[in-house]
């Protein structure tokens, strides 16, 4: 809880600070989709795999221009890093969709190149995030919910786990475990995109960005813990508005 407060405070502080230097400053809005991979190893688990899943992100990019080709950018954002845990083969149908929402602050060097209006850019930097909430939806075999007893002996061979067990469907908020879940995420990012400046005031852009978490999604609560890292690709569109006059 304390960590969450500090994080929100620093976001707010950064925003205030940015307003102080508005002559070289642009602020805007961006949004788009994400695809997240959970990078871990479950090869020892029978017929089990993690699949990537799609989500969305929205953010408020803030750009501080140093010169024509260099700027620094921050973009407090609300981003989903979703994934699916799925069973295969005989266990097909057992799954869990994990919808994870992070409040994230990327800090980047913004390197731009090209013409006056249409420019390409690269973003390089790091980010800090807070795992705000999680939701799980899925199906699992229910060992204590057998079908009603019938006085018939069946010799039918099961083709799937749900021929033997009643499925239990769930759709609920994930309850974080303070011992296990590491809700602070730190990582690196790289982005590439194009921007178009209009009326010296508006900058429209599209960007593809790659986030690599460097912090394990789990706290180090046991020996031989297999780490889990989010790896996220995001594509977003946005617009920046330059505060104050145009700087050259």
């Amino acid at each position: 809880m304390k960590q969450k407060k500090y994080f929100l405070f620093s976001l707010f502080f950064f925003f205030l600070l940015s307003l102080q230097v508005k002559s070289q400053l642009s602020i805007g809005i961006e949004g788009g989709g994400t695809k997240n991979y959970l990078n871990t190893n479950v090869s020892n688990l029978v017929s089990t795999e993690y699949n990537p899943a799609y989500g969305f992100n929205i953010g408020i990019p803030v750009l501080y221009k140093v010169n024509d080709w260099l700027a620094f950018q921050a973009g407090p954002s609300y981003i989903q890093k979703n994934y699916q845990l799925a069973r295969t083969d005989f266990f097909q149908g057992v799954y869990q969709d994990n919808t994870n929402t992070y409040l994230q602050l990327p800090l980047m060097a913004h390197l731009s190149f090209g013409g006056q209006q249409l420019r390409g850019f690269l973003n390089l930097g790091g980010y800090g995030g807070y795992w705000l909430s999680a939701h799980i939806k899925g199906t699992t075999p229910n060992i204590l919910d057998e079908p009603a007893y019938t006085n018939t002996v069946s010799n039918a061979q099961p083709n799937n786990v749900f021929d033997e067990y009643t499925p239990y469907n769930y759709d609920e908020k994930y309850q974080f475990n303070n011992t296990k879940d590491n809700r602070i995420e730190l990582g690196l990012l790289a982005g590439v995109g194009m921007s178009y400046e209009m009326n010296d005031k508006y900058l429209f852009f599209g960007e593809a960005r790659y986030y690599q978490s460097m912090s394990d999604q789990q706290k180090n609560y046991q020996i031989n813990l297999v780490p889990r890292y989010n790896e996220t690709v995001g594509v977003s569109l946005g617009c920046l508005y330059e505060l104050g006059g145009k700087s050259n």
Binding site: Q96, L144, D145, Y149, Y168, T179, L188, S215, Y221, I223
Partner: protein, 418 residues
């Protein structure tokens, strides 16, 4: 302008150094071997295979007080000093295994290291001076026809109305020594059912032919209007097939009975759990709710499905439990692959070339799921308490002159037909 560009370059350089340094912080994603897949040639490898399998497959880490990391720190160096092919080291190893698992809360838990047998819950029971193992099997009475001594034989002789006695002892099938007794007590006022293990469906549908008539008698008497109530006796019953729950309890209810929930593992981490899934008894088609008093007789040797049966019936308003606190093994078991949790082999020591049979150093028998009762309490390792705690001793049961008494059954009868 040049100065500004130089500063910018410096900033980018600092950023690049930061990125390179930061990226080295990421931990390596390790591989965990599939249960029993790796050949183990020495005790150190056997230990590691066991320790990791416990880490991944044991479902009670969220409530267990055993510090499993400490076990690694203590026993990893000790096992590495042992020789797998030295008989005295084998004995030492079994002693280490026993100490490692001694405090595990899972009361199904049984470890079979190289032909050994370690059951922590059983060891804990024996330390309790009030616990009498196989209480009624120790009686100095003439054994039954099959050579076994059954408590219910005494019930039969003392309590059951002679015209109502229905008894079957399976001496034929692989489920040999299965026994079921039903009848009435107190001149037809109380219906009684007892059975030695939960293999009712398999016996009923194709087991020992004399079992079905006993159970049919019991089910038919549920509709007998002159009977005032029912006693289900699961004392000394070690549990069995889950399908028996709907077969027996499902015949006493007319709508689904939600009595708790279960959860298992969904990952390698000790605390990776599935959500809690509702535990439900589904009524048998056409069953009507049994609204007369039900008394479940349970004791310290009522294990697993015996406890689940008592607990599910206890959610009905007309059920009373009489006897002693149950064993405390509530977590249902199934094949490991279903949840990637529960029982496992460890320490693969070889494969027979001609038959393909794989040999393991040992096996751990452990629950696949954790059970939580409807009141949100977990009774694993504690046992389910009775409403009327009536502890009995041998000298209370086996009275002089070959006379026997059963204070727990006396209490059960008094609840139904005072």
């Amino acid at each position: 302008m040049k100065r500004r560009n130089y500063n910018s370059f410096k900033t980018i350089l600092v950023l690049a150094v930061f990125i390179v340094c930061f990226s080295s912080c990421k931990k390596e994603i390790t591989t965990v071997n599939q249960s029993g897949s790796t050949l183990t040639g020495n005790f150190s490898q056997v230990f590691n295979d066991f320790w990791n399998n416990m880490n991944n497959n044991y479902v009670f880490w969220s409530i267990d007080t055993t510090n499993w990391d400490n076990m690694y720190k203590i026993y990893n160096p000790l096992f590495s000093k042992l020789n797998l092919y030295d008989s005295s080291d084998e004995t030492t190893a079994k002693g280490y295994f026993k100490k490692m698992v001694d405090g595990l809360v899972d009361s199904h838990y049984t470890l079979f290291p190289d032909g050994g047998f370690i059951q922590p819950a059983h060891d804990r029971k024996l330390k309790n001076p009030e616990f009498i193992e196989n209480l009624f099997g120790t009686a100095p009475y003439v054994p039954s026809a099959d050579g076994k001594f059954y408590y219910t034989d005494l019930i039969d002789s003392l309590y059951l109305d002679s015209t109502s006695k229905h008894i079957a002892v399976d001496t034929v099938t692989s489920n040999s020594n299965f026994m079921v007794v039903s009848g009435t007590i107190n001149n037809g006022q109380v219906l009684y059912l007892s059975f030695s293990s939960f293999s009712l469906v398999s016996e009923y549908q194709g087991g020992f032919p004399k079992v079905k008539p006993v159970l049919d008698y019991f089910f038919s008497q549920l509709k007998n209007t002159s009977i005032k109530g029912l006693i289900i006796d699961v004392r000394g019953n070690g549990g069995g097939d889950l399908e028996d729950l709907n077969f027996l309890v499902g015949s006493l209810i007319s709508s689904p009975l939600h009595f708790g929930s279960t959860r298992s593992k969904n990952g390698n981490g000790r605390l990776d759990y599935t959500p809690w899934a509702d535990a439900i008894v589904t009524p048998t088609a056409g069953a009507t709710a049994y609204t007369k008093p039900i008394v479940v007789l349970a004791d310290g040797e009522s294990v697993s499905l015996s406890e689940i049966t008592a607990m599910s019936l206890k959610t009905l308003p007309n059920t009373t439990i009489v006897g002693d606190t149950t064993w405390g093994a509530n977590g249902p078991l199934t094949e490991n692959a279903v949840f990637n949790a529960g029982s496992f082999n460890f320490g693969k020591v070889g494969t027979d070339i001609s038959s393909g049979n794989v040999s393991y150093y040992g096996n751990a028998y452990t629950s696949s799921t954790m059970f939580k009762y409807i009141n949100n309490k977990i009774y694993e390792g504690k046992g389910f308490p009775p409403d009327f705690d009536i502890k009995v001793k041998l000298n209370q049961i086996f009275l002089p002159n070959n006379y026997v008494d059963d204070p727990q059954l006396d209490k059960a009868i008094s609840i139904i037909a005072p």
